[in-house]
Amino acid sequence: MLPEPADPAPDTAGHEQAESLEFEDLVRRHQRMVFSLAFHVLRDRAAAEEVSQDVFLRLHRHLAALDSGDGVVFWLRRVTSNRCIDYARKRRFRLLSFDSAPEPAVDARTRDPLLSRRLRRLVASLPWRSRMVVILRYQEDLMPEEIARILDTPVASVKSQLHRALRTLREKMLRVVGDPRS
């Protein structure tokens, strides 16, 4: 929380400057998280940038009402998730074909880039809400209870969506690469 200004006139400018610096710091600190969520859900860099910019501009307008780091992260995850689903629905956003869909640059830490790519494509074939649940679970490493709070959904519904999504992914993976036990 910023300190209360003693003298209203000069401190208002100081407060605005501090708020602007605080905003810039928040953008730099959370841009990767917000952009990644949007990119993994929408699988389009331009759409992900548009949604991410919109999320941060909304944050700028609501900054005064958010007073803790945890509150900001929760707010960013919730607003990004909602904006992604809205964006996809309003624009009747369709997935790009598997061959033309952009892939993030191969990370040196990725052990099996081909497997990662296949999994991203399979997750992209899930319904929007299930996709959101899977991405929040694995990108952000969140528990079903936290995902339920973000998506404003009952925990049981998140658990069942996650369970169904993982079963579908597992079955599709087996169809693509074959059963490793056989």
């Binding site: 810039e24 919109d54 909304r58 830490r109 990725t110 099996d112 990662s116 997750v123 694995y138 079963r167």
Partner: protein, 109 residues
Amino acid sequence: MRPREQHELDEALREAFRQVDPPPGFADRVVRRASRGPVRTIGGRAGLRWAAAAVLVIAVSGGLWYRAEERRRIEGEEARRQVLLSLQIAGSKLSAVQMKINRHEESRQ
């Protein structure tokens, strides 16, 4: 699913959905847009679209109303003209009959 398989799938998904870097200059663009004051967001653009649609609806209904009024005015003028013509014809016929009666009475005298 066995715990080991579940663990492997969990790890593979964590790797597939690792955070990625935003495009270069992303934060600068956001800060610049925010410093410009109120901005048109995705929702704002939708609002603009609704306003444009409302203006279009008002313009089209105004145009239709004007055309209907104009048609009513022309029809009214046409009806008035026809009534005046009918009166003129009736008046001339009455005059002709009156003249015939006058002539007939003069010949009897």
